[in-house]
Symmetry: none
Subunit: 216 residues, 4 copies
């Protein structure tokens, strides 16, 4: 009796988790397909093949599921890059190689949640101010990481002294922007690796041929 009861509890919990996950996945698909505002709670429930009432057992409303979706997404993303700053580069060549490596990893990871990531990138501000702030907090974390790298390089003499806060934000901007372009098929005629190489070159060397005068 005892065992069977505990078993049932376990089973119930597992079932609940599975059902919640089903709804989250379904919501992700529908949001990506129709956009946040055109998605009805009934669309999500239908996509998950559950009754509408079931949706409300797990989430207060449409707004709450998007937070949950974002938190899940964020957790997966940060887990993938938690070790990024383990070994800092010691010269510009290593810096370049590390950047390219990291970007390729980001690209591969993001690719797995492409539809969802794209949805967040594009619609964040259209949902509400609070959600936009959450997304920008995430961007901020990546910018902070980039800034750590950059400051380290400046201190080590293999990056030009500059306002690293501004520059690292710009780098994140390039990344997000080009991801959006790429995924929306607005960057024809170039491979991902080619794109990454081109952008890292831009970031490291600029497009100019002359260097700034020392001290200018």
């Amino acid at each position: 009796m005892e065992v069977s009861l505990s078993k049932r509890i376990t089973t119930n919990l597992a079932r609940k988790e599975r059902c919640k996950k089903t709804l989250l996945d379904a919501a992700g698909r529908v949001f990506a397909r129709k956009g946040y505002h055109d998605t009805l709670v009934s669309d999500i429930a239908a996509e998950a093949k559950v009754g509408q009432g079931t949706f409300y057992r797990y989430f207060r409303d449409k707004r709450e599921i998007i937070d949950a979706l974002f938190d899940e997404f964020t957790a997966g993303l940060l887990a993938g890059f938690s070790d990024m700053s383990a070994r800092l580069p010691t010269n510009q060549r290593e810096y370049r190689a590390a950047s390219i490596g990291a970007l390729k990893k980001v690209a591969a990871t993001a690719e797995q949640n492409r539809a969802l990531a794209l949805f967040f990138i594009r619609e964040a501000a259209g949902i509400d101010r609070e959600f936009e702030a959450k997304l920008h907090a995430l961007y901020g974390k990546f910018a902070a990481l980039a800034q750590v790298y950059l400051d380290h390089a400046i201190a080590g003499g293999f990056a030009r002294p500059c306002n690293s806060a501004v520059v690292s934000q710009a780098l994140i901007g390039i990344g997000v922007w080009m991801t959006n372009q790429w995924w929306n098929d607005r960057m024809s005629g170039v491979t991902v690796d080619g794109l990454i190489g081109e952008l890292v070159d831009l970031a490291m060397y600029g497009f100019g041929v002359d260097r700034p005068l020392p001290g200018a």
Copy 2:
């Protein structure tokens, strides 16, 4: 009589135009304040101090006013930069000066429609796919302009050979991204001019200290 009739017609047309403009301005303010989806037609009418029914005399629906707003915005913006490519730079120094000058001008112009521009930048995809495409077409025009400059400079030997399509997109990305950051007060401790200088330096020189090997 004839004259007075034609005058009256003129006056009526003028009045109609004025009323339409009033509604457009009101819509811009309300959209900027509440976002597209939280804005009701009644909000716009109230802000314009006209009856709700009057709104429908000038616009088919809420969606149409966004297009009108965007077209008006675009017209003003492009008018401001129609002469941008009149005198192309002949060396990197001139290129740099021209870029900074153009960016300051853009910044000043954009500042005049700050709220509306910010609204478009943030919410484009939240409105619908069609509007997002329109906005990206505008970005594309700026990117094309940047690409003309860049190709000219590469041909003239004062810009590094690169995939100018990619790079010019990246430059637009930086511009839009940093504008968003700046206007949302996420770039504290730097002036507009300082920001522009920092970004032009990044674009021209990169943040590295070494140059790429010739032919690499």
Copy 3:
């Protein structure tokens, strides 16, 4: 122009008032017929022969219309009895006559809103605590009025010294209770006037034959 505008405003206001009144009357009828909790907003709208949306132009929800209904009812009721305490009786005979007169007047007035009054009497507490409190505040006003009469009579020596607060509440209780019984056809075989006479006799003389011992 001016005149026609002001006329339209007047007409609109009048139309609004009429529409609101139509809804109030309809609500009263439906509440009386189906009870508060079984009444849907759509029932009220249908009874008033207006769209459901129209209901929400005038009242926030079902709860609000019942307050409005009660306030309107109360205003009419109190208006009818504002002059009740103008001429106080000077002996028991006058007191008796005045009581009977007042009760007949109350009965006649209440009869005009019979369905609504009955609805309030029966369902007040079933709506919510706040509404019940409002109704009891009204009862309290009548009790206070009764108490003034009674205290006056005690002071004048033509009423027995007693706890007038308790007794006047009891008198209101008899009134409300018997009204409910009467209107629900649970008092067969007696006329209104007969009922009133019987109750006034009970209140004045009690059902006993002996008097209390003086000082007991």
Copy 4:
């Protein structure tokens, strides 16, 4: 074996009864606290610390538990007064004493189910017509009892001839009304015994000082 089986059946039946009682008690508490319409089946199940499904094992629906609750309440109440008419009074003094005694007993009994009794008194009509009728049937029983007493007293010459049906209803009305007032703390500054004495005096002597003219 036989014995143990029958024992188990007995135990099971007892357990079922206990569970039903638990649900009834829980329902009574929740109804008293939140009112009938604001009480959810899940509230009752939670209060009884059983699953929602279990509720439906014992009661068809929310409406049925009200009836069960009322029947239980009524049974307890009538049991307490089954012997009330065993010894009829023979003069007004005895009548008065018996009335006071009975009322004190009622008050004490009712006190034990105060919350539930109050709930029935206040919300009867808010539940539905059928339940209201049931409650009024109960009131009718008490009125009939009062009428028997009163008729007996009139016949015995120690009560004034009157329409005993009307008067006994009024007496029940006073009782119910004042109970409601008392339990809702609207009768401050008086004890239960004081209240009962005051009301019995009112019923027996009225508040007047003169008697009606014989034959009037």
